[in-house]
Symmetry: C2
Subunit: 87 residues, 2 copies
């Protein structure tokens, strides 16, 4: 979770992933797509040949709300898709 940044207005979690090759980027995106479908949660994703930027929008009624445990759990599930010491 430590590689995610929590930002406000709008409240969201952001993280950038970088990969050595386009194949690794595609593999990650395929796994991520399956997880999104399973959780029915669809982050905003932007990617190029060897990077992926993820933005998890967070439902927040009031100004000082924070990422919920559910949000953090989803972020950690995404982290688990990559071998942490490979990035």
């Amino acid at each position: 979770m430590h590689k995610w940044q929590e930002r406000s207005r709008p409240l969201r979690l952001e993280r950038r992933f970088e990969f050595a090759t386009y194949e690794l980027t595609r593999d990650f995106l395929d796994c991520l797509g399956k997880l999104c479908e399973k959780r029915q949660r669809f982050p905003d994703i932007s990617f190029g040949k060897t990077y992926v930027n993820l933005t998890l929008q967070i439902d927040s009624e009031d100004e000082d709300s924070q990422a919920s445990d559910l949000d953090k759990e989803f972020a950690m599930e995404i982290d688990a898709l990559i071998d942490e010491d490979s990035d």
Copy 2:
């Protein structure tokens, strides 16, 4: 080609695609991925559940260069991935 916008600084072609379902978005991204690999050309892609925004960066030495025929050909190949009357 008419649905692409040419923008400058930096010179690029942009287009937004929208889909009825996440499955259609994924199908498009899979086909696009194969085309990118075949052409070894990797646009900046951002997408969510039912939209894909594409940005084709264009190599331009001087201020008044334009998208080349090759750039436009690649854009039309991407257009061909979707059934034009479906979006």
